[in-house]
Point group: C2
Chain length 195, copies 2
Amino acid sequence: MMIRTRKSATGEAPRERLLAAAGAILARDGYNGLTMERVAAESGVAKTTLYRHWPTKAALCMDLYLAEAARELHDPDTGRVADDLRYVVNTVVRLQTRTIAGPALVGLIAEAQIDPSTRQAFLAEFAQRRRAITRMILERAIARGEVRRDVDVDLVIDLLGGATTFRLLQGHAPLNARFADALVALVLAGAGKRK
Amino acid sequence: MMIRTRKSATGEAPRERLLAAAGAILARDGYNGLTMERVAAESGVAKTTLYRHWPTKAALCMDLYLAEAARELHDPDTGRVADDLRYVVNTVVRLQTRTIAGPALVGLIAEAQIDPSTRQAFLAEFAQRRRAITRMILERAIARGEVRRDVDVDLVIDLLGGATTFRLLQGHAPLNARFADALVALVLAGAGKRK
């Protein structure tokens, strides 16, 4: 298969060097400083190789976000939905405010609006991958009877992720642990079993 | 005063012509089709006048959004928080999916990420103006005892506005009346008085 041959010919090392260079630029200069030209120049990898891995800046930002999230965020499976969700929302808040995941997400969202073809990739891949852990947490909570069986899991994920992303993008109010805990408490008060 | 003289010399007519041209471009070609050059050309107003009113595309998008919202959205004051919020969220969903307010908001958010000076204006003016009606609704609901006195009003606004904006930007799930009604029900289940 042509695609497999191409992938194995490229190898993993240039990809890692490109991601490292892009991450360093994002950390130093933010989303505005990130250009495909600079990533190629600072990594020492050919621009054609860069574009083979990521045809757009949005695709590059998506992988930067997912790599950072994969390092920092796991399914905690504590046995209690409140503890699980507090861990996830607090970790996402920390990712977005203290790591390059913040500017990567901001960049990805901005680029996705400008380039409709990006938006499709964004929709299909990124959104589902970001939602997977919270979905598992909520499905376990429904099975244990902590969350009502008729709750719309996608809506709950939108409440948690939407409020957090809203503060990241608008910057109108603090994005911190106090916000994360209050967010989880209010959403679970709505989604939990009536006492 | 210099600013007043400048404003009255400019008059209201060119501003309205510029807004009408920008709205028409946005409706026809979306956010990507909107450039300052085209707005000036299609309105027949000098580019210097355009930039005097709106120094950036983001500022122009903000006024396009606010003008559309002012026409379509008012404080319903029905006497019931559930009816008030259902009206507001459904109207915002309709604004974002059926009018130029959608591409204007998408454009504004994307531009605000790219240009940090825009983000300040976005933060200070736009976010507060967008939040004003929902704030009044929730404060009346607290006074009437429909919503708990200790509820964080800003957090509730973030849940409603965040989930809606999240679907608009990510396009991962439908933004429709069913979503709007379920969103209000879940948030009020969390924020309402315990039965």
